[in-house]
């Protein structure tokens, strides 16, 4: 088995696994139950995206995509911070919390 062939196979596996990971993350986002769970899932989604970009760089041979990974590594957490802030802010406005039907306890 040549290295190229192995790499091709490995990449197919990688992409499939990464896709599966995406799906699982989406399931967590759908299921929740809390805001924090969903934010965590988005955070992980961005991490997986970094991996995906790396794998894509390998599969195409265009290494320039790595810069996108750098940027994502740096700014990806910005959205998590902002959302965490959002979570915190809800405490101070507890009088009219989400009427999501998911239960107040679950959806904090």
């Amino acid at each position: 088995m040549s290295g190229q062939l192995f790499l091709t196979g490995a990449l197919i596996v990688t992409f499939l696994v990464l896709s599966l990971a995406f799906v699982l993350i989406v399931i967590r986002i759908v299921k929740g139950p809390s805001l924090s769970d969903r934010i965590l899932a988005l955070d992980l989604l961005i991490a997986v995206a970094i991996g995906y970009i790396a794998a894509f760089g390998i599969s195409t041979g265009y290494s320039i995509y790595v810069d996108i990974a750098i940027a994502l590594g740096l700014v990806g957490f910005l959205s998590t911070i902002a959302l965490a802030r959002f979570v915190l802010s809800r405490r101070t406005k507890s009088d009219d919390e989400d009427t999501t039907g998911e239960g107040v306890k679950a959806d904090v």
């Binding site: 995406f22 929740g32 996108i68 959806d107």
Partner: protein, 771 residues
């Protein structure tokens, strides 16, 4: 020919406008005496126009002009012939007297300067209208008369009735003006001619043209509204709200005759058809009768005069419709006569009002001794109005009886009834001088010269023009009649009838029954009044109903098309988008969906599927955070899609923008206690979904049909070729942004900058307000 270049008149005829703009200043300096100075302008013009008389009498038609809007084939041009010259002389001559009269009448009124300005503006407009050769010039001045009339009627602005009358006049004559515009333009289109003289040179071009009926009806509509024909007449009596000089000048002597003028002007081109005769005779006759019947019912002097003016206009229209040589000659004579006696009578009425404080014929009386000069003027004018010799009114009546009698029996009967009532009314108008006075608000004295000068002059001219009938005919009447008839009229007119011909018989009947009617005047008046009360509706009320109806309908329609509900706005817009996407293929054919390239690698599907999942979760999510997070998913996946197809810059930007979007969404949502639950009831949601799906599918369809087309890659090839060689950049996308299409980027950063300051303003200005 005048002893000056004819085209001097192009500018001279604009003098009233110049005078108008200095009038306020002049009145400010001289007070009411400014009238004497300002009257110099029309007087000068009268003289200038009079210089054309010999030539016109000799049959010369003078045209001259300059280009106004050459690209539109519009000229500022004059046509001096019998018709326009007679009108011009009436306008400037009576205008001179009116300006003098107005100076006296308005003594002590507010806004005298403004009044003089409007009056002179009107004069310029009216003059411009009658001497216009170019069709569009004619229209421009025609509309100006409507505007100035609107201003003058509303002059006594503190009274609601005056305001209503002004609007009514504007609406009715303005509406007619639009018809005139359409008619004139249709003439231009059909004939290719842009001037009156051009049309007169080929008299059959319109009559035989494809749009004759439309043109004729439009011109008639314009004329009927302007000249207060039934059922559009009610604005004219209401316009008596204006100060009396206005009534005398605009609403009897000149402006209201603009409609008749237009009919006469185009009579050679449009007349001599069944449509023309029937319409003009019918509406004119009906107006004639309506005018005298309603006139006899009135008790206010000005109202009586107004309705008889309506009647006279009806008579003129009817005669124009009858169109025989005698009818036209009669119309011309009557037009001149009417201008003279009615103008004078209005001024008399104003003088009486001025001196006694009332215009009610039931109260007025005994003025014979108190206002002798005024009486003389009134007496002479009334004789002319009654059609008694030796006044011009008598000649006019003889000739018009001749005209209708030889034409048809119905106009003859109408004329007979109308003239009879006119005779009676003329008697009634003299009652203030002879009757026993009632309780007058003021104790009357003779009016000042400025108030009686005008009526005396006009009445005397009414007398002398008949006494020197030969000159009158040759200088004024026949040239005008020729112009109206479109050729020499064949008439034989004398002051004293030679023998007992039918017109004379009709005159005798008129006088006899007129006198008889005067003796039962009180009962007739009350009877008509009672009848009208019983009917309880008239065009005047109809006008109110129409305006109310229009306003109400507008209100309802506007509530329907602009209901204030944004949901509806957005729905309509997207419905339109759906139609724009689907109707073209439905009517123009759907694309075939073959050959759209190979399928993607499976891991592409995962990215696409998750992007779609993100959208769906956003839609079904019940909390805003789930929605925001799902939006993040969708955006991230879009960035990956960009990456998959070779767009690293896009992917980069999309990731950044997505992150920042989530950040600002979170920052805002932190302060916005809202959830993202869909509040729509199910049926509404279903409808919205239908629209949304239609749009979405439509966009898919369009996209598919675009990618069928072989792609023209020239631009991108160019960029790839020269990006490095010339623009020194390897990242072609960036080179496009900063070099090939830098202007886009410049605009784009302007947008970014604008958003920055706009958002700051949004947030800060609130802080200030709530603080």
């Amino acid at each position: 020919m005048p002893p000056f270049p004819a085209d001097l008149m192009l500018y001279a005829s604009l003098l009233p406008f110049a005078a108008a703009f200095i009038a306020p200043w002049l009145v400010g300096r001289m007070g009411h005496n400014a009238g004497w100075v300002l009257a110099g302008v029309p007087a000068l013009l009268f003289v200038l126009f009079a210089a054309f008389l010999p030539g016109v009498a000799a049959g010369t038609v003078t045209t001259y002009g300059i280009d106004w809007a050459p690209g539109l084939s519009v000229r500022y041009a004059h046509l001096i012939d019998g018709l326009s010259l007679t009108f011009a002389l009436l306008i400037t001559g009576i205008g001179t007297l009116i300006v003098i009269y107005a100076g006296g009448y308005l003594k002590g009124y507010a806004h005298q300067g403004r009044f003089m300005m409007f009056l002179l503006l009107f004069m310029g407009a009216m003059l411009g209208l009658v001497i216009a050769d170019d069709l569009i010039t004619l229209f421009v001045f025609y509309e100006l008369t409507s505007i100035t009339s609107f201003l003058l009627i509303g002059f006594d602005h503190k009274r609601e009735a005056a305001r209503r009358a002004a609007v009514q006049a504007l609406v009715i004559t303005g509406g007619g003006g639009l018809a005139l515009l359409a008619g004139l333009i249709l003439m231009r289109v059909v004939s290719g001619e842009t001037s009156v003289s051009g049309l007169l040179a080929m008299p059959d071009v319109l009559r035989d043209g494809p749009a004759y009926t439309a043109i004729a009806l439009l011109i008639m509509l314009a004329a009927f509204t302007k000249s207060a024909q039934v059922p559009f007449h009610s604005w004219l009596p209401n316009a008596m709200e204006a100060p009396t000089p206005v009534s005398a000048y605009l609403h009897s002597a000149t402006m209201v005759k603009a409609g008749v003028f237009v009919l006469m002007r185009f009579s050679p081109n449009l007349g001599d058809t069944a449509l023309w005769s029937i319409m003009l005779t019918g509406f004119g006759g009906a107006t004639f009768l309506t005018g005298v019947i309603l006139g006899i019912r009135q008790t206010d002097l000005k109202q009586i005069l107004a309705y008889t003016t309506v009647a006279s206009l009806g008579l003129l229209v009817m005669l124009t419709g009858v169109g025989t040589d005698y009818a036209i000659a009669g119309a011309v004579l009557y037009l001149v006569a009417h201008a003279l006696f009615k103008g004078g009578l209005f001024m008399v009425a104003g003088a009486i009002d001025h001196e006694t404080g009332t215009r009610d014929v039931r109260v007025l009386g005994g003025l014979l001794g108190k206002m002798p000069v005024t009486f003389v003027a009134a007496f002479l004018a009334c004789l002319s109005m009654a059609g008694l010799p030796p006044f011009i009114g008598f000649v006019a009546k003889e000739v018009l009886y001749n005209g209708v009698y030889e034409a048809a029996w119905l106009p003859t009967i109408v004329s007979l009834i109308g003239n009879t009532l006119m005779f009676t009314i003329a008697c009634v108008l003299l009652m203030p001088f002879f009757a026993k006075p009632g309780a007058l608000p003021k104790s009357p004295h003779e009016a000042p010269p400025s108030l009686w000068l005008g009526p005396i002059v006009l009445s005397v001219i009414g007398l002398f023009s008949a006494l020197f009938l030969g000159s009158t005919l040759s200088a004024v009447v026949l040239p005008m009649a020729n112009a109206v008839a479109g050729g020499p009229v064949d008439t034989n007119i004398h002051l004293w009838p030679a023998g007992l011909k039918p017109p004379v018989v009709l005159t005798l009947i008129t006088v006899g029954s007129g006198v008889a009617l005067f003796f039962v005047y009180g009962r007739v008046r009350d009877g008509i009044a009672g009848l009208l009360t019983a009917i309880g509706w008239g065009p005047d009320k109809g006008f109110d109903q129409a305006v109310r109806g229009l306003v109400g309908a507008s209100w309802r329609v506007t509530n329907f098309v602009q209901p204030g509900h944004m949901k509806l706005y957005v729905s309509v817009v997207f419905l339109a988008v759906a139609l724009a996407l689907w109707l073209p293929p439905i009517f123009g054919g759907f694309p075939s969906l073959g050959g759209t390239g190979a399928l993607a690698a499976p891991y592409h599907f995962a990215v696409l599927a998750i992007a779609v999942a993100g959208v769906i979760i956003v839609i079904v999510s019940k909390s805003r955070i789930v929605a925001i997070v799902s939006l993040g998913i969708q955006g991230t996946m879009v960035a990956l899609i960009f990456m998959l197809y070779g767009a690293p810059d896009l992917s980069f930007t999309q990731f950044m923008v997505e992150t920042l979007s989530v950040v600002i969404l979170a920052l805002v949502m932190t302060r916005l206690d809202l959830d993202a639950v869909d509040h729509r009831p199910r049926p509404v949601a279903m409808k919205d979904a239908a629209v949304a799906i239609a749009c979405g599918a439509g966009f898919s369809l369009m996209l598919l049909s675009i990618v069928q087309i072989p792609f023209n890659n020239t631009l991108s090839e160019f960029f790839l070729t020269y990006a490095y060689d010339i623009a020194h950049g390897k990242n072609v996308v960036n080179v496009i942004l900063v070099d090939f299409r830098a202007l886009d980027t410049l605009g784009e950063i302007a947008v970014v900058m604008g958003a920055g300051i706009a958002i700051l303003a949004l947030i800060r200005l609130r802080a200030r307000v709530s603080a």
